[in-house]
Structures are given as structure tokens and as C-alpha cells.
Symmetry: C2
């Protein structure tokens, strides 16, 4: 196909400052729950963040994602109620010190953040047979997650914080947002400007868990025999 | 908790060139199948890419990911056989012009790329109850996908291309790489330096699918009534 060869161009090289800027976004990105400012997000900034999402990789170029922008306080209050109900169930699974610590954590910014974004995956987009999904049907979900991570990093570069809320019942949120059955909710995001961020992940700072050593999770050639058990 | 407040610092602002560099990585990232150079990846470059992956967000800070680095040609040949078998099955699902186009596409760089990386998710890491996974048990899979997208963008900034292969049978690849049952394969990646890239996604360039208009996939407040059917 003659036109394909001409579409290959020299890969745009990155200068060292450009490379460092990419790492700055990656290493300074935080899951934000409580540092949101009330100021709205300018339309051009939001447009850039959504355009970044839309340029994520997608299986068979199926672009299965959609973005519901939720700004109304009424709607956010309703979502917050769903979170609160689910969070009480979740908290009950911890005991003693762990329960106390869990209850001290703020796990969402649904009301603090001026904008919530529900990111969905249309399981039917791209038709019945999607290139690359035959043996791995979950690939469309993964594509949508790549879009979320693009949003997170571009938001960071725009001075905007983002937090991913995963404590809610799917069916309840689906009903509230009128999302049809063939569309799966992937992420519920709280989005707003931030001036302060944790230097390290909040759950690390607050003693919930430690960062693993990289050498313990990188292996050569095959899974190590010593780690095949649970 | 007194120590938490002091861990909040002014969010590092991005200059306009830094912001543009982040978008450069996002918009110039490609799913690479055929433009790999044979040169190996320097250890410090690979270390930065894996460190970027390890700084992805993870549910309850569970860091469920592991990375198998596959360099041996023998092992890559075996993986390539798994791909070929699955790809024949997948190709059979298309007919006529679509089948012809499918068969003309190169869908993996398993042998071209000097390095393959299998990214996995340990479903048991973080213990029986993981903060944020109670109502959405798939969140650990999604965390691992965020790590893949971090790799993809940092690789781009390093002049390294990456392609995600999803055409294989999970069980076959799991057996080949000795991966235990509680660990799920998320991505099989081909990784190598590149000098040329497609200006737009390869499947768009080759006429497989068109890019959707952003305004068709962004909605306000709730899912639009007009789009609730399949």
C-alpha cells in the first residue's frame, strides 16, 4: 500500500528537558482527594485533557471511551451518597488499628472538586469483531484505562489534580447516570485545580502501605520458581 | 496525623515548554509493530522506563504489577508461534476486503524488537482486602494498565517504541512463561528503539478505522437519551 510508507516520518526526538518534563508528570502525579480548589476548569484546558484521553492507544483503533462531565452539585451529591453507602460496607472489612486508619482517610473529592468525569467503555463500539480483541476481549477496557492515565498526566501538566474513586456499586451509578447496559463504567474521576500535592503517594505517607522494591517485581525471561506460590 | 500535613508541598508548576513536552509524548506515541531497530536498550534507559511504570497509580497502593523481561531469541520464537496460531484463528473472522486488509497488517514486533516485556497483575498482592477494590475488584487490573501507559509515554520520550500484542491464548502464554494461576497477564509488549514512526495511528493510516469526533463522545451530566440503544 503505497500511501502507508509515506506516512512514516522520522520520529520526533525528545531533548533532555522534554524527556525530564514527561518524567516530572509521571513522578509528580497524585491521586488527589482533598486538595481541590473550587475554581472551574477553563474550557481550553479541559479540551486539551479530553483530547489527550482521546489519543490513548485503543485495540483495533476502536476508541471505546466516552466521557460524562458532571458539574451539577445536585448530581455530585447523589454520587456522594452512593460513595458513602459503599464506603461503610468497605470500612466494615477492616478491624482494629487498620479500621481506625481507614476511617481517617479521605478517599474521594466528589464534592470538593468542581468537575467529576465518568469514563465509560462501550463494549459494542467497533462492531462484533474488533482486531486484537478475539482472544483478549478485555482489551477495550484496558484501552479505556490508558485514556484515563493520559488524562491524569496531562491534567498534572496543566496544574489540575485528579482522583479516581472506586468505592461505589456499579449498578447504582449506572442507574443514576442513565448509562445503558452495553456500556461499562471504568472510572469515576474528581477533577480540579490544585496548589498543593503530597510529595509521595498519600497512602504511603499515611502509613497504609510501603513502596515495593523495583528489583523484587522485575524478572528475567520467565516467572521465578521462588515466586510461583501465593 | 501531624506528619501528613507536612508532606503536602506546593505542587510543582509546569512551564509551557514542559507542558508541551507531555503532550508531545501523548500525541506522538504509537503502537509500534515494524519499525524496531535491533540495538539493545541501555540498562539506564530501561531502568527509567520500568521506574515510570512502578510510579503508576495503584488501587490501595497495592502495586500489583510485575515485569518479565524476555530477551532470548528462543523464547521470543516460542511466543511468536503462539501469536501465529491465534492470528490465524482471528483472521478467519473477517471476510472479503476486510480479510485481505487484515492479512496485510503486521500486528506484532515480537522478533523484530530486541526486548519483549510481559506485564502481569498479581491478584493476591495487597492481601485479602485491598482499599478501593471491595466494590470494584477489577481495579488492580486497571492499575496495571496505568503502569503500561506510563511505560509507553516514557519510552516515547526515550526514543524507544512499544507495541502491545493481544493476539495469543492466555493459557498458552502463561504456561510458556511459567506464570502462576493467581497472576494475570495484562500486556505483552514489544520494545525497541525506533527512528521512524507513523504520523497518525497505523490503523487509521491504513484505512482500518477513522478517528471519532471528540464531541460525539463527550456528554454533559448524564448519558444522552439518543445514545442509550446499541
Amino acid at each position: 500500500m503505497a500511501h502507508t510508507r509515506s506516512s512514516l516520518k522520522p520520529a520526533a526526538g525528545f531533548t533532555e528537558p522534554e524527556r525530564d518534563a514527561v518524567y516530572k508528570a509521571i513522578f509528580n502525579r497524585r491521586d488527589v482527594r482533598d486538595q481541590f480548589l473550587p475554581d472551574g476548569i477553563a474550557p481550553d484546558v479541559l479540551d486539551r485533557i479530553l483530547t489527550a484521553a482521546h489519543h490513548a492507544p485503543s485495540v483495533g483503533f476502536s476508541q471505546p471511551w466516552s466521557f460524562l462531565l458532571i458539574r451539577s452539585e445536585e448530581k455530585r451529591r447523589q454520587v456522594h451518597q452512593l460513595f458513602t453507602a459503599a464506603n461503610e460496607e468497605a470500612a466494615d472489612l477492616f478491624s482494629d488499628e487498620r479500621a481506625k486508619l481507614y476511617q481517617s482517610l479521605k478517599l474521594e473529592g466528589i464534592l470538593n472538586a468542581p468537575l467529576n468525569i465518568c469514563v465509560t467503555c462501550d463494549r459494542t463500539r467497533g462492531g462484533k469483531v474488533v482486531l486484537g480483541r478475539t482472544h483478549n476481549p478485555e482489551m477495550d477496557l484496558y484501552s479505556t484505562v490508558c485514556a484515563v492515565q493520559n488524562m491524569w498526566l496531562s491534567a498534572r501538566a496543566e496544574g489540575v489534580g485528579m482522583g479516581w474513586v472506586s468505592i461505589y456499586r456499579h449498578d447504582a451509578l449506572r442507574d443514576l447516570l442513565n448509562i445503558p447496559d452495553h456500556v461499562q463504567i471504568i472510572a469515576y474521576l474528581c477533577v480540579g485545580h490544585v496548589e498543593e500535592l503530597y510529595e509521595r503517594p498519600e497512602l504511603e505517607v499515611k502509613g497504609w502501605a510501603d513502596r515495593l522494591a523495583l528489583e523484587d517485581i522485575v524478572h528475567e525471561e520467565t516467572w521465578p520458581e521462588s515466586k510461583t506460590g501465593k
